[in-house]
Symmetry: C3
Amino acid sequence: MSTPAALEAVRRHAPLVSCITNAVVTNITANVLLALGAAPAMVDITGEAGPFARVASTLLINLGTPQPEQRDAAREAVAAAADAGTPWVLDPVAIGTLTHRTALARELFGRGPSVVRGNASEILALAGDGSGGRGVETADDVAAALDPACDLARSHGCVVAVSGPVDLITDGESVIHVQGGSALLTRMTGGGCALGAVVAAFLGAGRKEGLDDVSAVVAAHAVYSAAAERAEVRSTGPGSFPPAFLDALYALEMQDLQNVSVSATSATTAAGGGPA
Amino acid sequence: MSTPAALEAVRRHAPLVSCITNAVVTNITANVLLALGAAPAMVDITGEAGPFARVASTLLINLGTPQPEQRDAAREAVAAAADAGTPWVLDPVAIGTLTHRTALARELFGRGPSVVRGNASEILALAGDGSGGRGVETADDVAAALDPACDLARSHGCVVAVSGPVDLITDGESVIHVQGGSALLTRMTGGGCALGAVVAAFLGAGRKEGLDDVSAVVAAHAVYSAAAERAEVRSTGPGSFPPAFLDALYALEMQDLQNVSVSATSATTAAGGGPA
Amino acid sequence: MSTPAALEAVRRHAPLVSCITNAVVTNITANVLLALGAAPAMVDITGEAGPFARVASTLLINLGTPQPEQRDAAREAVAAAADAGTPWVLDPVAIGTLTHRTALARELFGRGPSVVRGNASEILALAGDGSGGRGVETADDVAAALDPACDLARSHGCVVAVSGPVDLITDGESVIHVQGGSALLTRMTGGGCALGAVVAAFLGAGRKEGLDDVSAVVAAHAVYSAAAERAEVRSTGPGSFPPAFLDALYALEMQDLQNVSVSATSATTAAGGGPA
């Protein structure tokens, strides 16, 4: 299934995305999902997070501001998702030196997420390499995360996505690079976090159509990049960019997706070089 | 008092609206109230929520992300509001199958809100009918909520407002339909939740002027619809809509209110048909 | 160091600003810092807030929605900041009659913030005068806070900044007034709270360059005012203002800073009159 078809699937199914995410980005995350055509719901308390993860199409666990109640809710949701077969995405925000989120990320990673999405420093920290970034900022290049990402994907049977100027997506066998996007995404809070939610939405809709997870994750990144490019030309800075980005996600047409460069190679070949 | 006069009252009194609301929409809720001319304050911890509900003009209780501390704060605020005579609005977000919020909504509903505002699924769930919507989305039509809304209003002596393409407001005797608005409100997080806060603001200002609660709630919906219509023509999607909506609330003039269709009938007549 | 040089320092150093702030403004606060060129991180749970305050360039403590966990995290962060020499800003939002935040503000103020920033009612309440404002709105004039602000600054060895139509900044000896800005900042949630974060960013970058704290705080206010003026002419209301404000912070050039009126006098002279 192509990226345009995956986008159509999201719009048609309007997957219900259960989000346990951080306090800084809840609003933009929900708005990104609504603009895309998905149905967000932030259900992040114990007693509700589990049951809701069962009925949702897909689940996002983002560790950006992991309050104690939310940490327990995340555990409950992940257990329910595993039991019900709900695909889920782990976004290990700013792990490395911060203790609670780092420990929780490792614990949840062991419970079998469908996808892990983060920046290079976060993926390196999850692999036990590096010491993390500067808060939510990465201190490492995407290329440096290639081998750890492939190892994590193989050892855990999941898809790992590393965001950066060129995004890297791998299941441990094939490696796909997605180019494009906009530097303004790094000047907008939630530029990375909302991408995690979009990945979850594509995963949920993709599963309903029999789409493999790698293709769903690639489609999510390609759509995100295409919308960011469209928004950048319509905005004059990081303040006008988010409204333009939401408008772009909403209005994205199939031809907008043609400019996104997606290149695939094998993990072994990729280890010898980056994208063309 | 007409809707224009009610809007003038809000702008003149700048009612202090104490909001206990969900994490996703706090920011847009506060901005909607500020644009309208009201004074929002989010005081949602125990020990402060009660005393603040006493001095506020009006109180909003929204159950969208009911953390344990917030649930206790809501109970404290409602008790203080009842004691001090502060009018208050209950917004039973996404109740139905989610246990904590559903139980709390029923408990608080028994303590005498001035107004309950929700979508059709939420009102049906509060009445014990239906099984709730899909997260915050309704799964039912406004018309299906007419009889339960009238019953709830009569049995509890409050105003019930059901939001949808055509809003329905009733005190159990008369039924008022407000048409207009914009479908983009459903693509903006907080489109419904912020309306609950606007209802609270009109309620607070209306009480100071001796306006009956039904008229205040109708005016809130009419102003919201008029601003949404004005914003829709000035925006290019769900991202540019919220800024345009806030600008419209701020700049709304009396003639903008003329296009909103408000039609009243009796509960018994309405049971036989919808709005013209 | 001049205000333009201080802005250059912020952009060059990209200070890591650890923010413990309220739920209503986390998003706009982070976006303001990103637009300015700083690196925000909201680390507000115990076990993480302390260690992070050690490595951050600067720390903001804003008491707008002080959940129990956040209150403990604030104490932990302040203790760590004191130990590590991290400069920090206290923003005592809406203190006066609300008990938890008022007690916590007094406690934290005793632990030696580098800067206290608030509106006139908040500064008066911190000094033990006045009874606080209406929620986050001030009920007092900036001029009324002059003497208490100077007293607080002298007795605690910190800088006190009072926001209003004309901002007042003092270390107890000199008094600086910063004019300009936009009334739309009072119609945008976080207009004051995000200023506290900007003060923290300038403080962090300023320290790296050997800039005295008063000059850093003045520069923060001058930059904020200049960006607000630039944004006001590019916006049509309180909804289009925040995006324009973020764009302005991002694009602010040195000549934009020339129009901000900054006037200095001594505390004793200022007590006899206001700014010219």
